[in-house]
């Protein structure tokens, strides 16, 4: 039986931004398998959800730490999300640190967000404090291209 109790949850945002997802234990465990976690519509979780890939149809209050997270139209997450890719079709009110964010039609995201790539499709709703991070010399840093001052 797989035990994920030894997984250290990053305590600092830089640890998440530079996280080595290739060696994320749940993802390594499910490599080559068609396995994922589904939190169904009737399920509510209060606490930590650690998974390789998670599809959330129900409600999670607390921490979601996974490589790939999809919040389905009926799903809601409040708290903190650390992940590599986040797809929002439901509602998210959280502190989010991810590499790739996609907000799809009907998705609502109200967040303090740090991301590398973002895509908001028509019908997506977003709000909060956003910061794009770029990798420079192997370190994740805030991007300031919007404040670019041309000579």
């Amino acid at each position: 039986m797989y035990d994920n109790s030894f997984i250290m949850v990053p305590q600092h945002e830089d640890e998440v931004a530079d996280y080595d997802w290739e060696n994320f234990p749940p993802s390594k465990y499910q490599k080559g398998k068609t396995s994922f976690s589904i939190i169904d519509e009737s399920t509510g979780i209060e606490g930590k959800l650690i998974a390789g890939t998670a599809f959330i149809h129900g409600r999670v209050q607390g921490l979601v730490f996974a490589e790939h997270v999809t919040v389905e139209p009926t799903g809601r997450v409040d708290g903190v999300i650390f992940c590599r890719t986040l797809t929002v079709m439901g509602a998210v009110g959280a502190n989010v640190i991810c590499d790739t964010l996609r907000v799809r039609n009907g998705g609502q995201l109200s967040a303090t967000l740090k991301y590398r790539t973002i895509k908001i499709e028509p019908g997506g709703l977003v709000g909060g404090q956003f910061e794009r991070r770029v990798v420079i010399d192997g370190r994740s840093q805030p991007s300031f291209s919007g404040r670019r001052q041309d000579p």
Binding site: K119, G124, L125, R147
Partner: protein, 128 residues
């Protein structure tokens, strides 16, 4: 407004070409295209910031499309589209939003909530 070609429905437009740098205040009834730099206060119906363009200051328009960079304060009353080469950094308010992959959105983002329609109170008549 009648333009020089006699078109009665024409709205005044402004094009700030690449290499042009403007500071100040503008109110434009039609389209503003910025391929150069603009700093200041801009109010327009439509705004298009081209790949080489930058708009900074207090920018307000009904529809905004960003292929270049926008800074400080942006209000897109109806729709905001950030193309893959576009970057916005600052305070952003929008009615609807689309961000293409590769586009950048940084700062404080909020949706403009339309004002609730005025509720009309009709007094009940005796017997109702």
């Amino acid at each position: 407004m009648v333009d020089r070609f006699g078109d009665e429905n024409s709205e005044g437009t402004v094009v700030i070409g690449a290499g042009v740098d403007i500071k100040g205040e503008m109110t434009v009834p039609g389209l503003v295209t910025i391929d150069g730099r603009f700093e200041g206060t801009l109010k327009a119906k439509c705004l298009l910031v081209g790949r080489t363009g930058h708009a900074g200051g207090h920018i307000s328009a009904q529809t905004v499309e960003v292929r270049g960079t926008v800074g400080e304060n942006l209000v897109a009353e109806t729709q905001l589209v950030v193309r893959s080469s576009g970057a916005i950094c600052g305070s952003v308010s929008y009615g609807k939003i689309i961000v293409e992959e590769g586009g950048e959105l940084s700062g404080t983002i909020q949706k403009i909530v339309p004002a609730a329609p005025e509720q009309k109170v009709v007094p009940l008549q005796r017997g109702e």
